[in-house]
Amino acid sequence: MNTPTPSADPRHTRPQYTEGAPIADTSAPGGPIADRWDTRRFTAKLVNPANRRKHTVIVVGTGLAGGSAGATLAEQGYHVVQFCYQDSPRRAHSIAAQGGINAAKNYRNDGDSIHRLFYDTVKGGDFRARESNVHRLAQISVEIIDQCVAQGVPFAREYGGLLDTRSFGGVQVSRTFYARGQTGQQLLLGAYQALSRQIAAGNVEMHPRTEMLDLVVVDGAARGIVARDLVTGEISTHTADAVVLATGGYGNVFHLSTNAMNSNATAVWRAHRRGAYFANPCFTQIHPTCIPRSGEHQSKLTLMSESLRNDGRIWVPATAGDTRPPALIPEDERDYYLERIYPSFGNLVPRDIASRAAKKVCDEGRGVGPGGQGVYLDFADAIARTGRGAVEEKYGNLFEMYQRITAEDPYEVPMRIYPAVHYTMGGLWVDYDLQTTVPGLFAIGEANFSDHGANRLGASALMQGLADGYFVLPATLNDYLARNSALPTVDPADPAVLEAVEEVRERLRRLVNVRGDRTADSFHREIGELMWEFCGMARTEQGLREALERIPLIREEFWRRITVPGTEAEFNQSLERANRVVDYLELAELMCLDALHRAESCGGHFREESQTPDGEAARDDEAFGYAAAWEFTGTGNPPVLHREDLVFDYVHPTQRSYA
């Protein structure tokens, strides 16, 4: 493994990567966009129901995407072998999603339609998503609600017994279905229950507390995984006809994020190392409404749902250095800056815009709370208008959570919020069939890059996870298996299998044997702080170059100084953590490189060099109207860039305006 030698003055070198062949075929059918999904389903080959049980499919992850995929594939008759690192499939981090799920039902008769959801999502993503995929997502959205209601998901309802909806950022219709502030929990439990039914029926072989550590590629196709039993430490291989990764996003590269503590990038990064291209890694979403950090001990950040922006008003003092308590700041000395700058969307502008605006007012010295890293989210008007009871009904659990964490009562004093890393739009590159560049390897949900472009709209993650798992993957995987019905059985002694197992064992042994003087968490914190500073809400060429200089040094230090107590052959949470940090230290480098090469601003990717006179993100469609898919060539080696040109036939790229 050789690391490229840094030149004398890194600011004058071009980013270290090479250009590869563009991606010519995304397998998306042609024709009118509204017909493409029908066309694809019709051209897909089918597997005879009686033959399906002969096929084994591995699904890694049990969140909304993985849980729904595992259940549906098993219902179709496939033999599913499924994995999650949690002690139960019910705990995947989809469970923490609060606000809601979008669907173009138009129950409100407020002008919504499939085409509008499609349009909003493409525009919200700042024109960096593939039109065909997004349109399919909008079409399927309506079926998801039907499916979940039938499963017994207790969505919020009106007194007439029909489903209630609310609004989310970046849209002007009310299409978000919800279950109080626990929509993710209720949808996930629906998928978990469907999965449980298939486990009981013997159609799904479930392996909880088991973590995928590598992908097995035989003769160019994904044929299995190497996994570690987190209780015994035992390393095992599992083979199949296809592998589905539903392992979520990589926001934990930043150390502090709204992800679960154990959410990690190992599965996708290992797949990337085995040949799957990684697309748009720099597209990360910083969510505007999180509880600010309270000190050095902070282990994670907690989101306050975007739905709060329906009724809460965001403001800071009009003048810098105003430290009066909020109640003592008169109305005319407050700056409701979102309402002022974006009158038509107000507090409900998309997340990237709200986050940057918050950073801007804090940088001006108008931030509130400890360190000036916060803005107010104020419910006084809503409480005065609708009464405390109505606010409690809608947001009770969120208010309670806020109070528990901060010891402040948001019914009495405004919440303090600050942006935090929340979601990653980037992920494994997939074609229209959700297949990666490794045949037989599919990526669904947040693990892929497909639908949200450079910025995801609120309540669209749940929609995409369930669309992929319940409806898209089962159809496209069918086609792959039908076309590869005679795959030879994988020999456990195949060199590809043995090599993958040995690599995993060697890495774990190495981690345990360094016996240095720094913990995995200290390295995680270091890389996270570096990423937040240089690859966070605002990025510059100089900063990214500095990060790219420092990351290889941190990696080198990691392998010299890491200490992992215990052994690899036992329950060892320190080893789990250290092993994940190894992958963050490589992925972080690709994220910075991608951010450096994309010398435009778009969505969540804000390059300070590329902004409009009024400080908004300035896209460069001419130069960067593509998805960047990166090919791995070795740790520290320059990766290869493959461009997928994005074609917009239906939503013409314009400067996004929410004013």
Binding site: G152, P208, H297, M401
Partner: protein
């Protein structure tokens, strides 16, 4: 703050366990309880001692992974999950006991980590609506009266943490089981499988080795999501009704 901890240490399911004492200085009242344990673990790691194993994940009180008995109470002195408990709930100089869930059906895996797979098997025995993907009718085809939807939601809030079992002197899983029975039972979508669901889930619950219910109510007091004790009486009624109906057939 300065606190003393007494923590249950147990190498694996078979090994004997014991309480061990640790002193902690410089604890911030704004730390969550788990962040306090993180700090201890960082120190133990650097001192060459095995850190304390404990289950945790979302740290937002919703995944249900955390499972600590703190000073004899499941999830500690506040009505929340351990991850949402903050050190400001304790006093400077306190000695705090930390133990795993204690129940026959939840064997200790290591230190504070227990095996709760029995809960998954209870759900697998009937805690679902049989509706294969694609078979669903239009969502508005069946209006659900708001009081029924609200009642379903109230029970669906269960996070499956197991505090109810840990708090129960009998180690009973009645509150967990009844929450799912009542969630699905309150909705028209759950009606067709109403009888088999309650009978099968209760049978599985008994087979897992959970204790019987004597309605002491500790479970509902410990539940971080406020699943009410009446959930259990409602399930008893469901179970009797189902038995009578099945007997008639």
């Amino acid at each position: 703050m300065r606190i003393a901890l007494r923590i249950w240490r147990q190498k694996n399911t078979e090994a004997p366990g014991a309480m061990r004492e640790y002193e902690m200085d410089g604890v911030s009242p704004d730390m969550s309880f788990l962040e306090m344990l993180d700090t201890l673990n960082e120190r133990l790691t650097l001192e060459g001692e095995d850190p304390v194993a404990f289950d945790h994940d979302c740290r937002e009180g919703i995944c249900g992974a955390c499972s600590l008995v703190i000073d004899g109470q499941a999830h500690g002195p506040e009505r929340t999950t351990a991850c949402q408990l903050h050190m400001r709930s304790f006093r400077d100089g306190d000695t705090i006991d930390v133990e795993p869930w204690r129940a026959a059906a939840f064997p200790v895996v290591r230190d504070l980590v227990v095996d709760r797979s029995a809960f998954d098997r209870i759900i697998q025995s009937g805690g679902y609506v049989s509706v294969p993907t694609g078979a669903a009718p239009e969502a508005h085809a069946t209006p659900v009266p708001k009081p029924d939807a609200d009642r379903a939601f109230e029970h669906a809030e269960c996070i499956g943490c197991g505090a109810c079992v840990a708090a129960c002197p009998n180690g009973s899983a009645m509150l967990f089981t009844s929450a799912k029975v009542n969630h699905l039972g309150a909705l028209p979508q759950g009606a067709p499988e109403r009888e088999t669901r309650v009978l099968d889930m209760v049978a599985q619950m008994d087979a897992e080795g959970f204790g019987g219910c004597t309605l002491t109510g500790e479970c509902a007091t410990a539940c971080p999501k406020g699943i009410p004790l009446t959930s259990i009486t409602a399930m008893n009624r469901e179970w009797l009704r189902a038995n009578r109906k099945v007997a008639r057939k």
